[in-house]
């Protein structure tokens, strides 16, 4: 499979000259065509900022991409004129968000919002756009799609709105779908529905999906590959099965441990001790050192690099560095 998206040494910073917050501190990853990649990590680790960086929607002027490149089929999106980004957002890369309740415009009808995107990107007439919108709404499981076009978002439930968002995102056949916590705000039964739908869509359209979540359950459901982020850096990249079977990085181990298990009685839910470093905090050495159970001297002095273990696996940890060295 060929590479669709390649992110190289991406750095997105916030703040001014006096105080810089490195929201994304040099990340590299690739997404292949048709592949579903999950980006996981705790709140504030830079997941969402990664998606906004790819979309070119980092809130200016506080935030900006200071370095790196984002190649979509070889075209660097960083520094691309806004005019060209208009043609990429929604067409090549589409996005769905965490908050289905507020992500649709309350004063425009569903039909208006869907067709305007289709007309904008596919340059078709109103009638044709409407047909396409109905087709998409049918696809995401609505039964009376044509009637739905005239409805306003407030009449729909959260799950229905998220399905509308998916229909809207998929309406122009994007190559990459970025789903930023698509199920976090939904209740569990609806979550399953939406995940099922996304699975079906990625297969049918062979769309690549970048799934951003902190929910490892969602990850195991949907993703083929997982990127674990911590404090603006990637700490581990692995295929889904490898990751759950034998996580390498202590942080990944902790994340998996933290998922409550259904078997047996537990006294206390596990959580990784300590907190995510505050934004802008300067840390010497490994950023996870303060919370790591396997920490040793070198971790506090030097920053480990993201080391390629094999074809599909990388990890940023001295534990594995030493093994190699010896």
């Amino acid at each position: 499979m060929s590479t669709l998206l390649e992110v190289n040494n991406l750095k997105t910073h916030f703040g001014n000259k006096r105080r810089v917050v490195k929201a994304i501190d040099g990340i590299d990853f690739k997404i292949k065509k048709g592949e579903t990649v999950a980006l996981v990590g705790e709140s504030g680790c830079g997941k969402s900022m990664t998606s906004l960086s790819i979309m070119g929607l980092v809130p200016a002027p506080e935030g900006r991409i200071v370095d790196g490149e984002i190649l979509l089929e070889g075209v660097d999106l960083v520094g691309l004129p806004e005019k060209r980004m208009y043609g990429i957002r929604g067409k090549e890369i589409a996005m769905i968000f965490q908050e289905p309740m507020t992500s649709l415009n309350p004063v425009l009808t569903i039909g208006d919002q869907l067709t305007s995107v289709i007309i904008h990107h596919l340059k078709v007439g109103k009638k044709e756009a409407e047909n396409r919108a109905v087709e998409m709404l049918d696809l995401v499981g609505f039964s009376d799609s044509r009637k739905l076009l005239k409805d306003y978002p407030h009449r729909l439930s959260g799950g229905m709105r998220q399905r509308v968002m998916i229909a809207m995102a998929m309406s122009c056949n994007p190559k990459l779908l970025i789903a930023d916590e698509p199920t976090t705000a939904l209740d569990v039964t609806i979550q399953a529905q939406v995940l099922e739908l996304m699975k079906k869509i990625s297969k049918e359209f062979s769309t690549s999906i970048l799934l951003i979540t902190h929910d490892l359950g969602v990850v195991s459901e949907l993703a083929e590959r997982v990127i674990v982020m911590y404090a603006g850096q990637i700490v581990e990249i692995a295929d889904i099965d490898d990751l759950f079977k034998s996580p390498f990085h202590p942080y990944t181990v902790g994340l998996i441990e933290s998922v409550p298990k259904i078997e047996g009685e537990i006294e206390r839910l596990y959580s990784i001790p300590g907190n995510v470093p505050a934004p802008g905090e300067v840390i010497q050495g490994c950023k996870f050192a303060a919370r790591c159970s396997k920490v040793f001297d070198r971790c506090r002095k030097e920053m480990p690099t993201l080391r390629k273990m094999d074809e599909s696996r990388s990890v940023r940890c001295f534990l594995y560095d030493d093994e190699e060295a010896e």
């Binding site: 208009y86 990429i88 507020t102 992500s103 309350p106 004063v107 306003y152 968002m165």
Partner: protein, 316 residues
């Protein structure tokens, strides 16, 4: 929709009723006597009493109120005490169109200037443009509009001779639209300044609020141009709270028109009110108060209806 409007109109009726009671009571409690200015001070006491008796001024207050209300509902506002024999309704009919024209044009001016300024201010937040607009707005809030009116008359009318200093049209000339407009511009602008500054600030904060919303991010993520995002997706939402301001603006417009009409000798109900107040022309004062209150009620009604039209989330 229709039932909603009908319901709102029905709800306005008790309010208007209350307003008539208050305006009548205020006039009853006001110092002075309607006969004081009308009569020869040397009049004999018996004659004065006879006049009062004949005109119902000695009747029970309740009787007087209901007589007044009953006549008013039939369009009879009584007669002006000062301009002997002229029905108040005639005065109102002659003046009201002038005031409505002035207020209408003023609100259009206020909206056309303030909303774009507010939007620009919000989209270029914390820029020099934003700060300049904010500065001028605060200056506008702090400056009484009679002063602005006087200054404008002094500079643009007296010194530069661009505009006439007052009136609705050039005396003695035949009707011409240009002449009417020429007379209208200054007073309408001055009346508009009363609310422009506040409206600008209001649209700014409303737009700022809207531009933070998730659906704006969605619109951007769909690849719409900035302009489309701001005007189609943003402004439609930002205007909703501003509609409420439209209803709230009307009272200040009516208050402002009293001042502006006196400055520009604009023969509207504001000027009628001022004259009436100085001359203790009770029927005129009460009629104007009731009309002004009715306008405010209608304005609020209009705002509510517009609100329901603009915001699909409101169910009638």
């Amino acid at each position: 929709m229709t039932t909603y409007i009908v319901r709102r109109i029905l709800m306005a009726i008790p309010l208007l009723f209350l307003i008539t009671i208050i305006s009548f009571a205020m006039m009853q409690m006001a110092p002075g006597d309607p006969t004081a200015l009308m009569m020869d001070p040397m009049i004999k006491k018996e004659n004065l009493e006879a006049y009062k008796e004949a005109n119902g001024l000695n009747d029970n207050v309740m009787v007087q109120y209901f007589r007044w209300l009953g006549n008013m509902v039939q369009g009879d506002f009584g007669y002006s005490l000062i301009r002997q024999g002229v029905p108040v309704s005639e005065l109102l009919l002659a003046r009201l169109p002038n005031t409505l024209l002035l207020m209408g044009v003023s609100s259009v001016i206020a909206f056309l200037i303030s909303i774009p300024l507010g939007v620009i201010s919000a989209t270029k937040r914390n820029s020099l443009t934003d700060y300049s607009i904010t500065f001028v707005s605060f200056l506008g809030i702090a400056t009484p509009n009679f002063w602005i009116g006087l200054m404008l008359i002094m500079f643009t009318s007296v010194h530069m001779g661009w505009f006439p200093t007052g009136g609705v049209s050039t005396l003695g000339s035949p009707f011409s639209l240009w002449d009417r407009l020429h007379h209208l511009i200054l007073p309408a602008f001055v009346l508009a300044t009363a609310d422009m500054a506040g409206l600008t600030r209001y649209s700014r904060s409303s737009m700022l609020e809207v531009l933070r919303q998730d659906y704006i991010r969605t619109a951007k993520a769909n690849g719409f141009k900035n302009k489309t995002v701001i005007f189609k997706h943003g402004l439609r939402n930002g205007l909703i709270p501003i509609i409420t301001i439209l209803g709230l603006m009307l009272p200040s417009f009516i208050g402002g028109s009293v001042i502006v009409e006196s400055i520009f000798a604009w023969p509207g109900i504001g000027l009628l009110f001022i004259d009436g107040a100085f001359q203790r022309d009770y029927p005129v004062i009460m009629a104007v108060v009731v009309i002004a209150a009715t306008l405010v009620v209608i304005g609020n009604l209009l705002a509510d209806v517009l609100y329901a039209i603009f915001d699909p989330r409101i169910e009638y």
